[in-house]
């Protein structure tokens, strides 16, 4: 089993270089379907295999809260460049995650907060985690895809 070096304090990019060299990619079967605007079609989040390998390995990725802090800085009207990039490199890395935990992390990193913070509020869910096989097999009418109204959320 490959052991992750002690990476706290190592630049995140250097960690990703190590992971690319030492870990096999993991192609997840999970997809995240979400709607962040009533005027737009459903969007689909697809995890990256090398990123998933990092998440499952542990000791590489920073906590997702670090990305939120950087996003807050970036949202300031006078933002020019990041001055707290060290948070990515110096915060204690995340331990190994299960694939399901990794998908939750990825949702909180790459989906809009307005979606995942209130995904089940309102008349219908704004976000669904599904398997690739549950999506249509072709992109026909892709611009009009919506999350189905009659979802069985327990399935």
């Amino acid at each position: 089993m490959t052991v992750t070096p002690e990476f706290q304090g190592t630049h995140l990019w250097d960690r990703l270089c190590w992971a690319k060299e030492n870990l096999d990619g993991v192609q997840s079967d999970y997809r995240v379907v979400y709607e962040d605007s009533v005027d737009e079609c459903a969007k689909i989040l697809v995890p990256d295999p090398n990123w998933m390998a990092c998440a499952l390995q542990g000791g590489i990725l920073p906590p997702v809260e670090v990305y939120w802090e950087l996003a807050k800085d970036e949202a300031q009207p006078d933002f020019k460049k990041h001055t707290r990039g060290y948070l990515l490199h110096e915060t204690e890395p995340m331990p190994a995650m299960t694939e399901e935990q990794a998908i939750e992390y990825l949702i909180m990193k790459d989906c809009p907060q307005s979606v995942w913070k209130s995904w089940d509020e309102g008349n219908r869910p704004k976000m669904v985690i599904c398997k690739k096989s549950q999506l249509p097999t072709t992109r026909e009418w892709r611009n009009s895809w919506r999350i189905s109204d009659d979802l069985d959320l327990a399935a």
């Binding site: 995140l12 990703l16 990825l106």
Partner: protein, 127 residues
């Protein structure tokens, strides 16, 4: 396996001169990805430094693992139809949307939204 580190500020060739290693680091691609929008949804066939793709129908967002320093970095793109008869009939437009998100869109040479092989490389300074 040990994580070896070679620390040097300058690389010097016996006859060809020297280069500061910060040029090597800063000049390297910080992320890249290859995906086919003909797949549904597109999967990442090859990548580095990318956490996920967001399929927005005509646009695909590339989400980066390591944030860029600012939004003035340089995503570079190319595309191909994947067919033998007209493999180059694709254009890919990119835009640095945030420090962790690159927006991409593929067109045919006739300026219509199209699917095909997308190749995105991100250059610039990391946060």
């Amino acid at each position: 396996m040990a994580f070896g580190t070679l620390k040097a500020d300058t690389l010097t060739h016996s006859t060809a001169g020297s280069v500061d290693t910060n040029y090597v680091v800063n000049g390297s691609a910080k992320a890249w990805v290859n995906f086919d929008t003909g797949d549904n949804p597109p999967v990442l066939d090859g990548s580095f430094g990318v956490s996920s793709l967001t399929d927005n129908a005509t646009e695909i967002e590339v989400n980066l693992t390591s944030a860029m320093s600012d939004i003035y970095y340089a995503p570079v793109s190319s595309g191909g139809s994947g067919t033998v008869t007209n493999p180059s009939n694709r254009l890919v437009a990119t835009n640095a949307q945030t420090t962790t998100k690159v927006d991409t869109e593929m067109y045919s040479a006739a300026n219509a939204n199209e699917t095909g092989h997308n190749h995105i490389v991100v250059h610039g300074d990391l946060a």
